[in-house]
């Protein structure tokens, strides 16, 4: 026998229990909001680069070199096989650039000639004549430049005709200089007749042959000095470097949020079936099959889930899309726009399916039980051995009422624990971000200052009171000779570098002599380097330096794409290298005092930040994104408690009514509900802490960065904030539920039996 009526009957049933349907819809909407937030953030961030690269037709290789005649470079480049297209630019850095909204002496001006652009115009149009400029979106936003406005390069005013996006670098101000494109004709007829170039954009026919093409390009590049290649993969890495850890952590968070929403929906649907056990018993007694009962529940649930899911996912999208788009803007990527509709629709489908299945499964299980047991209401009567904790006052009665529904209480505890653990994870993330920004020791740096000072006078720095040690620090961006797309940073100190930078050693040993190197796992993994291997580096000067790998290290610096060595071979390859001086302070020394003293002897000290010290704008965007997600999660926690209390109050309305009939006022009813809510909190709080410490924290650390261990620990203060917040939410939920109960006539509760 199947249930008659189908859709119409389901709608009637939902209408008949409007309050409960609304409550269930609120829960689904809350989970949908989490889902919408997670999908918006995760999809936007994970596809942002590819989207922007495709729209801008980002070249496969960007080659930078010292200025050279364009015809000479073109002769060599055009000889390369596998070449689809090429374009040349002349890039000027350190240019004086200004507009009404800002000015910089570090402007980057690129002349644009014929050929593909490598950037996308997002407002206005492309360049047509010499008096025009296209401004990058980051610059336009920071300096409030609009199409039709003007920028000034030196003393030349140019009309802004377009705003562009190119994901070959992060956006200003995350990028060091504001970038503007001008026509090559802007440099005058002399330049146009015999152009020179220092930047070549290369598009390949077959990207799989990138390494071979780069090797051929290096052979063909004889005579070009300071040649550096940057591939699409390298660009992506470079952009990730700006925000890599935090973006990856956000994606990790989204995964956790998805899991949390799933658990919450399943528990909520299961609780709803528990409440309708008697109805299931009646249906079975009338002859409906378990399958029909399950199908009816699935349909009822899906009818609630569909509109609620649409609303929730839309709310999640609304909350997260703004901060997510701003985050993408800071790394010169594009928001997904209508492309997000597909993933959101999939999320909605998943949500509805999950709710339908979560309803159908317990209904099917209940319907398969003996009808008499189901008719009794399953778990409505407390078991003989139920706990006698909490005392026999109103507070204790509330705890016992909640404990009597063991299954539901446990599932509520589980859902609340997961949601609270996510909040803890976010607090851990926030403090990690702060420490990454400010605390150099967190990223293995043991020096606090760098100074510009002659190397042969380092002993003068060491004589300054408060200074423990000072040494030249060489930093060179290079590429692997055999995989020129793999960019990395070489850091060299004379002697033992661990006095100044001490990244944890994962395997092998420390550098002892000039030809040895410790390699960060961020570059060791893709290059397959292990202790004993040989690392050949192509330096910017065009020379090559080889090192024997003696150890692998977990380094934050440059996302683990880093090599520690001694400077001898670097200096042999390029004697013009100049170091900064790393200064380590004595324990307890006052940094400001030492800075003043160093300035007095002519040094120019700069404080050392953490891994993301150059990304303050990005961090503030990330913080707002985290806050948005935390807000959604906090609302979800409140909903979970309100729902649990509403269910308890609904099922035990006769108990509440008898208490009210006996003279219990609002305070006593609130105490009963607070007891019920705090029982859930008492279970959820320690579970949340354990979940965060042993599962989410370590999991997020692993998901976030394979090249380093992130200390995503939560402090006692953060635990206190979350536990205190849960208690406050419990009290608020109890007050709200008690207020609702007070509006209900006492006699209505007395009639319910």
């Amino acid at each position: 026998m199947t249930l008659p009526g189908g859709l119409r009957a389901s709608l009637r049933r939902l209408g008949a229990r409007r309050g409960r349907s609304l409550l269930a819809a609120l829960g689904i909407a809350a989970a949908g909001a989490m889902l919408g937030t997670a999908v918006t953030v995760a999809y936007g961030l994970s596809t942002g680069f590819d989207r922007a690269a495709a729209r801008a037709d980002l070249p496969d290789v960007i080659a930078r070199f010292s200025p050279e005649s364009q015809s000479v470079v073109d002769r060599r480049l055009s000889a390369l096989p596998n070449l689809r297209a090429r374009a040349y630019r002349r890039e000027f850095t350190g240019a004086p650039l200004s507009s009404e909204g800002g000015a910089s002496n570090g402007g980057v001006i690129q002349t644009v000639g014929p050929g593909p652009r490598g950037y996308a115009i997002v407002a206005g149009r492309d360049l047509r004549g010499p008096g025009e400029a296209v401004v990058e979106r980051g610059v336009a936003r920071e300096w409030h430049i609009h199409v039709g406005g003007s920028v000034t390069i030196g003393e030349t005013d140019l009309r802004v005709v377009g705003i562009s996006v190119s994901p070959d670098n992060v956006a200003f101000p995350l990028a060091k200089g504001p970038r503007v494109y001008v026509s090559s004709r802007a440099l005058g007829p002399r330049f146009t007749s015999r152009p020179s170039t220092n930047l070549a954009l290369i598009w390949l026919n077959d990207r799989r042959l990138l390494d071979q093409t780069l090797t051929q390009a290096r052979v063909a590049s004889y005579g070009l000095s300071n040649l550096r290649f940057l591939t699409r993969h390298g660009v992506r890495t470079q952009i990730d470097q700006a925000a890599g850890i935090v973006i990856a952590l956000l994606v990790a968070f989204s995964v956790v949020a998805l899991g949390s929403a799933g658990v919450m929906l399943a528990a909520s649907a299961s609780a709803d079936v528990q409440r309708r056990l008697q109805g299931i018993g009646v249906a079975r007694a009338l002859g409906f099959t378990p399958r029909a009962v399950a199908a009816q529940h699935a349909l009822d649930a899906a009818l609630v889930a569909l509109p609620a899911g649409v609303a929730g996912i839309a709310i999640g999208w609304l909350v997260a899309s703004g901060p997510s788009a701003r985050l993408l803007e800071t790394v010169n990527e594009l928001p997904p726009g209508s492309a997000l509709l597909g993933p959101l629709a999939l999320a909605l489908l998943g949500l509805v399916l999950l709710v339908a299945l979560a309803s159908a499964w317990p209904a099917w299980r209940a319907a398969r039980r003996p009808v008499v047991r189901v008719l009794r209401g399953g778990d409505v009567s407390p078991s003989a051995g139920s706990a006698r904790f909490g005392g026999a006052g109103f507070f204790g009665v509330g705890m016992r009422l909640a404990a009597a529904r063991r299954g539901r209480t446990l599932s509520t505890v589980a859902v609340l624990a997961v949601s609270s653990a996510v909040v803890l994870l976010m607090l851990g993330l926030a403090s990690l971000l702060q420490r990454l920004e400010n605390d150099p020791s967190l990223v293995g740096k043991r020096y606090q200052l760098t100074v510009t000072f002659p190397v042969d006078r380092v002993h003068e720095l060491e004589a300054v009171p408060g200074v423990a040690a000072a040494a030249p620090r060489y930093s060179v961006d290079a590429a692997d000779s055999f995989a020129l797309g793999e960019n990395l940073r070489v850091i060299a100190y004379p002697g033992d570098h661990t006095r100044f930078e001490n990244p944890p050693l994962e395997s092998g040993r420390r550098v002892r002599s000039a030809g040895e190197a410790e390699v960060g796992t961020g570059v060791a993994d893709p290059l397959g380097l292990r202790p004993g291997a040989t690392l050949a580096l192509a330096l910017p000067s065009g020379a090559e330096a080889r090192f024997r790998v003696v150890g692998l290290v977990n380094a934050y610096e440059n996302d683990g794409r880093v090599v520690y060595t001694q400077p001898n071979r670097l200096l042999a390859a390029d004697p013009s290298l100049t170091p900064s001086i790393a200064v380590r302070l004595k324990p307890g020394a006052d940094q400001d005092t030492v800075t003043t003293r160093l300035s007095e002897i002519g040094a120019q000290p700069q404080a050392v930040g953490g891994a993301t010290s150059s990304s303050r704008a990005l961090l503030s965007v990330l913080a707002s994104l985290l806050r948005a997600v935390a807000l959604v999660d906090g609302i979800v926690c409140l909903y979970i408690l309100v729902q649990a209390l509403a269910l308890t109050a609904r099922e035990r309305r006769s108990v509440i009514a008898v208490l009210r009939a006996g003279g219990a006022g609002s305070r006593e009813v609130r105490l009963v509900l607070t007891g019920a809510a705090l029982l859930v909190v008492a279970g959820a709080a320690p579970a949340a802490v354990a979940l965060e410490l042993f599962l989410l924290g370590p999991g997020a650390s692993r998901l976030a960065a394979s090249y380093v261990s992130l200390p995503l620990d939560v402090s006692l203060g953060q635990i206190a904030i979350v536990v205190g917040g849960l208690v406050l939410l419990a009290v608020a939920a109890a007050a709200w539920s008690a207020r609702r109960l007070r509006r209900e006539p006492v006699v209505a509760g007395l009639r319910s039996d």
Partner: protein, 221 residues
């Protein structure tokens, strides 16, 4: 001493054409030490009248004076306070809290009492006097219907109310348990309390000092 005076009580359920006036000018008075039985067919409004007098519901018309206070003029808070001090309820289905033991159920209202420490002692004495010492340590599910109803009477008396309102207290009991409960209610009334007993059990009505019949929304003595 006059405990309850109700005049011209009106109560209507539903609206428009579906409206049904269950009380239509009902008058009632009850003195301390008196047990009044309220009888009538099912659905005639007996329980409604009980709820109005106990301050659980409000009449659409008429007035109720309980222990010198006009109920229709009281706020919700005032009604709650009045129920706490002056009224005890006994229900057909006992309504004991299944998670609490018998004693815990009886003692629960004493936490509302303003009598400080004396209320719990009084409640424990009641348990002894009603022969419920053994039942007091068990949960309701482990007790007979008679034991549960006697516990619910003890609970109703825990705060020493002036008025006991009993709604079909024997309706869910076997004959012997019913006898015990009725005897107990009689004893309560003789202890200077007013007892209003809603029943359609002739034997229950026979213990009353007065029997009132609810017919057409009015009480007939």
């Amino acid at each position: 001493m006059r405990l309850v005076t109700a005049r011209s009580l009106v109560k209507t359920y539903g609206e428009g054409r579906a409206a049904r006036r269950v009380l239509d000018g009902a008058d009632l008075h009850l003195d301390a030490g008196e047990l009044v039985a309220l009888v009538g067919p099912s659905g005639c409004g007996k329980s409604t009248l009980l709820h109005l007098i106990g301050g659980l519901d409000r009449p659409d018309g008429g007035s109720i004076e309980l222990a010198g206070r006009r109920l229709e003029q009281e706020s919700e808070r005032g009604l709650t306070e009045l129920r706490r001090r002056e009224v005890g309820f006994v229900f057909q289905f006992f309504h004991l809290i299944p998670e609490l033991t018998g004693e815990e159920n009886v003692l629960l209202p004493t936490r509302l009492s303003r009598n400080g420490g004396s209320a719990p002692a009084r409640a424990r004495r009641l348990i002894e006097e009603l022969g419920l010492a053994e039942a007091a340590s068990r949960r309701p599910a482990q007790l007979s219907g008679g034991e549960q109803q006697r516990l619910s009477i003890a609970r109703a008396l825990a705060n020493d109310p002036a008025l006991l309102l009993a709604d079909e207290p024997t309706g869910n009991l076997d004959q012997e348990s019913g006898h015990q409960v009725l005897a107990l209610l009689r004893q309560v009334a003789s202890d200077s309390r007013g007892v209003l007993l809603v029943t359609h059990d002739a034997e229950a009505a026979s213990i009353a000092d007065r029997v009132l019949r609810l017919e057409g929304g009015r009480l007939v003595g």
